[in-house]
């Protein structure tokens, strides 16, 4: 178990700066997810922690030890790769015990460890098979077993579920959460999938363009985004965003600072005839309706552009023209540079909603 600290980390590939002055503390025993669009530097950060990539500047500390000049094999980290990177010419057993062999673990002890681990991940009947003859899920388990058997201080997982089909992915997600609970080890997990991040992480680090946008617990991230990027990255569909120039009928305190106003699709209601709702009103035409049974997602074309509304356990709205109401306290405000603005209150202005 170990805390990971990144201090003023920078990374350049030739002349291109990928990451500049990155500071991050990953708590001991946490399940931290690095999430962001591709090319945001999350994988590079992960690989620097593992030691597969050398930082151009700054320090990396694992468990109170600066590991800048420590070889990957000696950092006491184990990694699960996106394509599993199983040794194709070795059996499942060979794959799992390769790391132990290199550490000079005695044969009897190795056997006991491999047996224990394969029991846990359910690979016992496949120990003498080659990875090629296993299914995707089984290969994933071999990769996990190979990492677990070394009892590392830190687990590093680089998009480990992206090669699995949807059903298996959900299953492995649950299993990974359980595994983390059982081991209590620090997990660092990279994904571009915000659903994965939200469901698995107890700490999420949102990255964009090599810069940490926000590092928070999932719920905090959802309810209290620090900026425009996080607000739009977390949540499906993404937060609806309106330029302040297009917003009519909204009286704001300190309104002159506001660049954008946003609201979550699930906080908006479609107003039915006779219903009186208090909040910001938008009119528009429903373009598409997606129904998943329990939830419905509407794509609505309004004067200011397209936005989404999500409803739960309600009958599908059949009207073409609708009025959407967003409660005033569910509006988010952002400065023109994307920074979140807090403490702004809103009320109806002039009453003429257009």
């Amino acid at each position: 178990m170990a805390k990971i600290e990144l201090k003023h980390i920078s990374k350049k590939f030739k002349d291109e700066t990928i990451i500049q002055d990155l500071n991050l503390t990953i708590k001991d025993g946490s399940f931290t997810v690095l999430v962001g669009p591709s090319g945001c530097g999350k994988s590079t950060t992960l690989r620097m922690i593992a030691g597969l990539e050398k930082a151009s500047g700054g320090e990396i500390w694992i468990g109170g030890e600066c590991v800048n000049d420590t070889a990957p094999g000696l950092r006491d980290v184990a990694m699960v790769f996106q394509n599993y990177a199983l040794y194709p010419t070795m059996s499942v057993r060979g794959n799992i015990e390769f790391g132990l062999k290199n550490r000079g673990v005695a044969k009897s002890e190795r056997e006991a460890l491999v047996n224990d681990i394969s029991e846990i991940v359910g690979l016992k009947p496949h120990l003498d098979k080659k990875p090629q003859s296993l299914s995707g899920g089984q290969r994933q388990r071999v990769a996990l077993a190979r990492a677990m058997v070394k009892k590392p201080k830190v687990f590093i997982l680089d998009e480990p579920l992206s090669n699995l089909d949807a059903k298996l992915r959900n299953q492995m997600r649950t299993e990974l959460i359980q595994l983390h609970r059982r081991l209590g080890t620090t997990f660092v997990y990279v994904t571009h999938d915000q659903v994965e991040a939200m469901s698995m992480g107890d700490e999420i680090v949102v990255m964009n363009g090599g810069v940490i946008q926000q590092a928070e617990s999932p719920l905090k991230l959802y309810h209290d985004p620090a900026n425009l990027f996080t607000a739009q990255f977390i949540g499906t569909p993404a937060m609806n965003m309106m330029n302040i120039r297009d917003v009519r009928g909204l009286g704001l305190t300190a309104g002159e600072q506001v660049g954008f106003v946003g609201f979550r699709p699930e906080q908006a209601h479609i107003q039915e005839a006779g219903m009186i709702g208090d909040g910001y009103k938008l009119e528009g035409e429903i373009i598409t309706r997606e129904s998943l049974g329990a939830e419905n997602i509407y794509q609505i074309q309004s004067r200011t552009g397209i936005f989404f509304v999500k409803t739960f356990l309600e009958p599908l709205v059949e009207d073409a023209q609708v009025t959407v109401v967003v409660p005033y306290d569910q509006l988010y405000y952002f400065a023109p540079n994307g920074e979140r603005l807090r403490g702004i209150s809103a009320r109806a202005a002039g009453g003429n909603v257009t």
């Binding site: 597969l52 990957p72 094999g73 000696l74 040794y87 010419t89 070795m90 390769f98 790391g99 190979r146």
Partner: protein
């Protein structure tokens, strides 16, 4: 019928035929399909004929060698030649074997071909790994030099190498026959390409598993490049097993002479060319290679079909 229709429409005929009465349409389609099939069979026949010709080109001399090795000397001279000896003369093999110290030649050949192979593996594997996996100052230049050596004809350098080895007093020694071939540019190139196809993640996984570079080579890279490596080993073994020129240059007595020299000497023994004994000697020469090939052919075919690493 449906399938045929679809195939034709892909070739662009479909749209034109859509307007024709259906009866004529299907007739044309059937004819077209028949034509296609005939053309396909014809192409296949040409293909097989070509292959057969190729097989004959390689197999006929070999069969002729086998046949001659079992004939009497007068039988080798008759015209028109006969393929099947009237009564096979196995004595030819014993005669060939007894024209010189063949067991000695045989041992020399094995020592030299195996010695070369071991040295080559020891040099090309690390070199190929370094060229495939490391970017160091001058790596491109150094690899260029390795490649250039492939283009230097052996005739150009055999004299200086001979003089050098002679100065080292290595004439008539095994070492003198082995040393000039201690590394192979071809091998380095071939293996480098195979190593380059191994995904980076595998090497990284190895590093995280605390494997040294040497362990990564032995346990991850080499097993993955096995078909390529086996192919190279076979090429090298055959080339040096059959090598006539260099052993001829480097030996003046029996100490280090190899089989090809011994076989060539059969011709000189009796003043007349005893083709039957000579061919028997040649078969003795190729037999070990055939055995090696028999055991490694699966690997070799894999190396060519999958192009090394999957």
């Amino acid at each position: 019928m449906k399938a045929v229709n679809r195939r034709v429409s892909v070739s662009g005929l479909g749209s034109a035929m859509g307007e024709l009465p259906s009866g004529t349409g299907t007739g044309t389609v059937r004819k077209q399909a028949l034509l296609n099939r005939t053309v396909r069979y014809a192409l296949q026949a040409v293909n097989y004929a070509g292959l057969l010709l190729l097989v004959l080109v390689f197999a006929l001399p070999f069969a002729w060698m086998m046949s001659t090795s079992l004939k009497t000397l007068p039988e080798t001279m008759i015209f028109p030649p006969e393929w099947i000896p009237r009564s096979p003369v196995w004595q030819n093999y014993a005669d060939a074997w007894n024209t010189g110290p063949f067991l000695h030649y045989f041992t020399n050949s094995i020592i030299i071909a195996a010695g070369i192979l071991i040295l080559q593996l020891a040099t090309i594997i690390p070199a190929a790994y370094a060229f495939a996996r490391y970017k160091f100052a001058g790596s491109g230049f150094l690899f260029g030099i390795v490649m250039v050596t492939l283009m230097i004809p052996a005739q150009l350098i055999f004299l200086p190498v001979y003089l050098e080895l002679s100065a080292w007093k290595l004439l008539n020694t095994h070492l003198g026959l082995v040393l000039p071939f201690a590394s192979s540019a071809f091998g380095i190139f071939l293996l480098r390409q195979a190593f380059m196809q191994v995904s980076d993640e595998l090497v990284e996984a190895g590093r995280l598993d605390q494997a040294s570079e040497w362990k990564i080579i032995v346990h991850i890279m080499v097993p993955l490049a096995k078909p390529v490596l086996v192919t190279f080993m076979l090429f090298s073994f055959i080339a040096h097993w059959n090598d006539y020129f260099w052993p001829l240059v480097m030996t003046t007595n029996e100490t280090a002479r190899t089989l090809p020299i011994g076989i060539a000497k059969i011709r000189e023994v009796e003043g007349v060319a005893t083709w039957n004994t000579l061919m028997a000697g040649n078969l003795i020469l190729v037999a070990p290679i055939l055995v090696v090939f028999f055991f490694s052919q699966r690997q070799i075919i894999r190396a060519f079909v999958y192009n090394g690493v999957k």
